[in-house]
Chain length 406, copies 2
């Protein structure tokens, strides 16, 4: 008997996940210092409550589900028309981008979508990843068998790496060799840096020339404050023939615990004559069953007049935190990036400390938790991420402690 075979690529995955390692270190510290009042500026989860317009929409939708005449069964697989129309109008047409409703696929999260999108591609493709990077892009491609082997320098043999460091102002340079699938995230997690129109145009031109597909994660688009920064990759000429864009309500309306996102696959995007839109449509129709009616009504409410104002207020709250963090760190003598078009602040560790050594130092001296840059890839070594998603009072207190301790 030949035994059944598991997906052996899973064995290549690093055994501990970044945030679980942080959680363990914090737990150990807390156990040793029961009185310590730890402030967490590490994980990218939001803390502000849902906007009132969203809450109202959820109550109303729940009541509809309570009556036979307005009960909703299986949702449309790709999203409710009422939500798709709002997305087209406010997220794209407002920026001069025209999309058809069936180019948009509503889902339960950008993590699901950026992970599952790999289903439509062959295993045999060269993947380009920024370094540092959101670990999900890397891990899902390891699982799918696109990584090759882990090398001594901490990189995977089959990936094309795009280092983002202080030298290039954390904006990746075009790859020297061919890449098929290119993950770009702007405004960036973890560095908080945004790409301008010209910078993104160079990537679109590269992808169209090379036949690559750009997987563009725009989950932090709502934090953009500067005018020369595109909100969508489709604001760049030619992007519809080379890019898939991922959006999320998690970091705008605070939907991390509600679960709603969407992915755009333009119909112009074809390879070997095959429409990627039709492949993703088939993938979702077969392995996904749509998003909760109540959740989609909640997402719709973020586009109402009140909803938009309330979402702006939430973002503005976090943006003030970002500013407090940036000012506080700079006053304490640290070098920082990001935070202007993003809820993430990226800083250099002092005195050449490794990211994890600084993690320990920050926890010991200030009882503040952040995220080691090396957790996002080898080029993140020597950097550190703080996030603006905490409460204003706690964020201010964290920066006061840092000012005192360093």
């Amino acid at each position: 008997m030949i035994p059944m075979k598991l997906n052996e690529n899973f064995q290549k995955l690093q055994s501990s996940y970044l945030f679980s390692t942080i959680a363990k270190k914090v737990a150990v510290y807390q156990a040793a210092h029961p009185q310590a009042d730890i402030i967490r500026l590490g994980i990218g989860d939001v803390t502000r409550p849902l906007p009132p317009a969203v809450i109202r929409a959820m109550h109303q939708a729940a009541d509809e589900m309570a009556r036979a005449e307005s009960f909703q069964g299986y949702p449309p697989e790709y999203g409710q028309d009422f939500l798709l129309e709002k997305i087209r109008e406010y997220d794209f047409a407002a920026y001069g981008v025209s999309l058809e409703a069936d180019e948009i696929f509503v889902s339960d999260g950008a993590k699901s979508d950026t992970g599952n999108i790999g289903d439509i591609f062959d295993v045999d493709n060269i993947v380009a990843v920024c370094d540092p990077i959101y670990p999900v892009y890397v891990d899902t491609n390891i699982m799918a068998g696109r990584s090759g082997d882990l090398m001594e320098n901490g990189r995977w043999s089959n990936f094309v790496y795009l280092p983002c460091t202080a030298e290039n102002h954390f904006l990746p340079e075009l790859p020297k060799t061919h890449a098929d699938l290119i993950y770009l995230c702007f405004p960036n997690n973890p560095t908080g840096m945004a790409i301008d129109f010209d910078g993104l145009k160079a990537w679109v031109d590269y992808a169209n020339r090379e036949g690559s597909v750009i997987l563009y994660d725009a989950a932090y688009e709502a934090y953009i404050t500067q005018e020369n920064i595109p909100h969508s990759i489709y604001q760049i000429d030619g992007a519809k023939s080379c890019a898939i864009e991922f959006r999320s309500y998690s970091k705008t309306a605070g939907f991390t615990g509600v679960r709603c996102a969407y992915t755009v696959v333009p119909k112009e995007l074809k390879r070997n004559g095959v429409s990627l839109n039709s492949l993703w449509a088939r993938r979702q129709a077969t392995k996904f069953n749509g998003v909760s009616y109540i959740t989609q009504r909640a997402a719709e409410a973020t586009y109402s007049e009140e909803g938009r104002q309330e979402v702006r207020d939430i973002i503005s709250y976090y943006q003030k935190n970002a500013s407090v963090i940036t000012q506080g760190l700079r006053s304490a003598g640290f070098q920082t990036w990001g935070g202007v078009n993003s809820p993430y602040i990226w800083m250099q560790t002092p005195g050449g400390l490794t990211s994890w050594a600084f993690f320990d130092q920050l926890l010991e001296r200030a009882q503040v938790v952040g995220t080691p840059g090396s957790g996002f890839g080898p080029a993140g070594e020597g950097y550190f991420r703080l996030t603006a998603f905490g409460s204003a009072a706690r964020t201010a207190e964290a920066l006061e402690r840092i000012a005192t301790a360093f």
Copy 2:
């Protein structure tokens, strides 16, 4: 330049999906007969509103999300403890099955889980499928590259087929050759037939002997009325070392539009020393981000005293429909199966008609829509499925029309 490669397996998928073909045929008929009052007993979607206990829980959870002090961000990746405990107690301990909380993975749907579970297995495994079968099991394995080629008889060259016909009372016989992954769904969709303890024990013994993994879809477990039918595969000795079980709230509490389900992967289930529980945990942590807090509170409410009574009432409503359909069809001279432990009634087409020919005839003569058995696989040819998920009044009317027309 070598162009990037798409997953070519997608090109093997049949271009039209069963239910979209039905929808088109119905639309054509309705356009030609604008006055026709069509009754749909075809699709497996529920129609009863959500139970009051569930609605109350959703309102309360929404209000918690409106306040900073009770706001919930990212859900735990594998499910909230409050829900996992209820699942352990009511769905398993009540039937003598002991599960640990970390053997249960809450998700947005059984369709997602039965599709995504393929991620943890190698492409090179032999898949056994019942025929007829829920198309998702087949299509997801085609996408993953496990199907081989479509043959003239309508079967895929690499699948092991387990025909379920009147001859074997729609219970599959053990495969004559080795199979690695075995999809079983009991009570069955589409045939409505259930498997008893002895019957399921034979499958568990086969899987343990052959090193196979059984993917057991128990989405219709709540419809079981007979005592000799297991509610969970884990009621069978030895199942924890060979089976993954899928459950759903869709057909119990009417959650098709709410989206909540769970998957059980016992820790005893290992192959080549690797725990499938740890693989699925890693898959979900990397490519999924948990279920909405409000939805999980809604699911929890189905286990309260009121919730359980209300869910029983809903199921009882559909069970009465199933009985009306069975009695009506039999009075009209048709042979039927299922409907006793299941919301599905499986019937033989009259006079040797093909499934689609009978679909047309039923639509023409009685303005009733059902599902052609051949849509579920070659062995479903000559059979037809009706579902009990309609309103009682419309179901009764449909059967009156059938009695008159046939």
